[in-house]
């Protein structure tokens, strides 16, 4: 697959352009930003906050305001949603630290450390073996939210609603071959992002950091 058509590269390029337009005050860019990112970010927070909708809304609001303030620091080395989720992750931790300081009993519902443990155990059954349903769900939602354009949507139409390719084509106002091609790209993109997420958790599970000696050998 060429660099130009690689969905990851495409998404990151789109996100860099979007951020620049946001910094320039483009109203249409804000609408696109809200449409493409708010739901995914909300789902990310919700799954980590025991499905407390009120708290998730509060955390997501803080995350978005912080992200707006730091928008010119976005380097485009990840997708915008990944960057937002990183900020959200620390907002969640800050929330629990404040709760703890106030002496309130809190239950941490952070899936990432548990997933890290699970993947590092090297399950014989592959990445799904030791995961509970809710953990798989969280990973799948996260991956779908990362995909560009309509990819997540066509995958849901295909595998959850059971639509045939011709019906998907009709919904997207595309020819059957074009719809089939999009579905294939969506599947490939899903596999790639899912495997990348799994391997990142297997290596370290923490922001993708690596160490090297000054000789440069990792």
């Amino acid at each position: 697959m060429s660099r130009e058509s690689n969905p990851d590269t495409l998404r990151m390029r789109q996100d860099r352009r979007l951020v620049q337009r946001l910094l320039d005050g483009d109203e249409a860019a804000f609408d696109a930003f809200a449409e493409d990112h708010f739901s995914g970010l909300y789902r990310f927070a919700l799954s980590r906050l025991g499905h407390d909708e009120g708290l998730a809304q509060e955390v997501v609001q803080d995350t978005l305001c912080t992200a707006i303030d730091r928008l010119d620091a976005f380097r485009g080395e990840s997708t915008l949603l990944t960057w937002l989720c990183g900020i959200c992750h620390f907002q969640i931790r800050a929330h629990f630290r404040r709760q703890k300081r106030r002496g309130q009993q809190v239950e941490l519902d952070e899936q990432a450390p548990r997933q890290r443990e699970v993947f590092c155990q090297g399950s014989q059954d592959g990445p799904l073996g030791n995961l509970e349903r809710k953990e798989v769900r969280g990973m799948v939602f996260y991956v779908l939210d990362q995909l560009p354009e309509h990819y997540g949507q066509v995958l849901e139409w295909k595998y959850l609603e059971g639509l045939a390719v011709k019906d998907i084509a009709q919904r997207l106002s595309l020819g059957p071959k074009a719809a089939e091609s999009m579905l294939t790209r969506a599947r490939d993109a899903f596999r790639r992002v899912f495997e990348k997420s799994v391997s990142q958790l297997q290596e370290d599970g923490f922001h993708g950091l690596r160490f090297s000696t000054q000789e440069g050998n990792p």
Partner: protein, 345 residues
């Protein structure tokens, strides 16, 4: 194990790969993505839009100021000769000096203008914003802020706090608490309160204001506390409780006690990419108050050569030990002492 479809359908098109299709399995196991409630969506969008519009307006205003300054500089160059002649007969008003820069923000933090002070309405700060002498900064309930003062000292505001920045690099604490890390190179910082003032002598310290009393706690170095009745020196590991009448009580307080946690939380994040592990650990020590010990001198020298690389979002000081396993190291924290060892091979 994931649940497989009980009645698999035979493939009907080229994109259907049957029961062993992992994408199909994962999608069906996960089910549909939950959508955000409409009320939540509308509220989030509106508030975020307001915040974004404020940010855009401030960026545009800053650009206009820069253009104005650039134009004024050009004009000044063009009329230098005339100006020099005029200077003998005029006094030009000094412009307010930049006294601090905003390094990090949590929650609502505002600058209160002179006109707005009585109504307690202000302008939201943004990271990177510079502040002039006389600026009044206030954190709301749940808010935290970190500023970098011109002299190099780090100033942090606890929740529900208010300070006025002074031209000499000091500040007036009007409410709540501040933490100052003057490090080893920063100029001295003086904190004034209604009951007295605290002057640092190269240190990390906190000043906290209560209704009719105040506290000075020192993590590192010393702080000279000046009252009407005389002065006292607070040493590292001490918290002084001072009443409005000048009575003083001293108590011990560990540099890593929980009471310092808010200052750590307010600290700006640091991108450790490209830094050595030793630098990361040094930053951690300054922010947490922990002491650091190594298994042996060779390991202590080795961490100077281990480099961190990668992209870091918002690493917090207490999370630095989580990096160690990736370098083949492990650590144990006990009573404020972090001991680093080589991991099992």
């Amino acid at each position: 194990m994931p649940e497989l479809p009980t009645a698999p359908e035979p493939p009907t098109d080229p994109t259907e790969h049957g029961e062993d299709d992992i994408v199909a399995q994962l999608m069906r196991q996960a089910g549909p993505r939950p959508s955000m409630p409409e009320s939540v969506s509308g509220d989030l969008r509106q508030r975020t839009r307001n915040h974004w519009q404020g940010m855009v307006a401030r960026r545009k205003a800053q650009k206009r100021r820069h253009l104005w300054v650039a134009a004024a500089a050009g004009l000044a160059l063009a009329v230098t000769g005339w100006f020099t002649w005029q200077q003998a007969f005029q006094r030009s008003s000094p412009s307010p000096a930049t006294i601090a820069r905003v390094e990090s923000l949590v929650g609502t933090v505002q600058e209160l203008t002179e006109e707005a002070t009585e109504q307690t309405v202000g302008q939201d700060l943004v990271v990177g914003q510079t502040l002039a002498a006389g600026a009044v900064i206030e954190t709301a309930e749940g808010g935290l802020s970190a500023l970098l003062l011109n002299g190099g000292a780090a100033l942090r505001l606890d929740t529900a706090s208010r300070v006025r920045l002074l031209a000499d690099g000091g500040l007036v604490l009007e409410r709540g608490a501040v933490y100052i890390d003057a490090g080893t190179v920063a100029a001295s910082v003086t904190v004034q309160t209604p009951f007295g003032l605290a002057r640092d002598i190269g240190t990390q310290f906190e000043v906290r204001l209560d209704d009719d009393a105040w506290q000075v706690a020192v993590r590192e170095g010393e702080v000279r506390v000046e009252l009407v009745s005389g002065h006292h020196t607070a040493l590292a590991g001490e918290r002084l409780y001072l009443t409005s009448e000048g009575a003083v009580t001293r108590r011990s307080e560990s540099p890593h006690a929980d009471r310092w946690a808010w200052a750590r939380e307010a600290a700006p994040s640091v991108d450790l990419g490209g830094k050595t592990l030793a630098e990361a650990l040094h930053w951690m020590v300054r922010e947490t108050g922990w002491k650091l010990a190594f298994e042996d001198p060779e390991l202590e020298a080795e961490v100077q050569r281990i480099q961190v690389y990668g992209s870091v979002g918002d690493l917090r000081p207490g999370e630095v030990p989580e990096l160690l396993p990736s370098a083949g190291l492990e650590s144990a924290l006990a009573d404020g002492l972090l001991t680093i060892r080589r991991g099992p091979r």
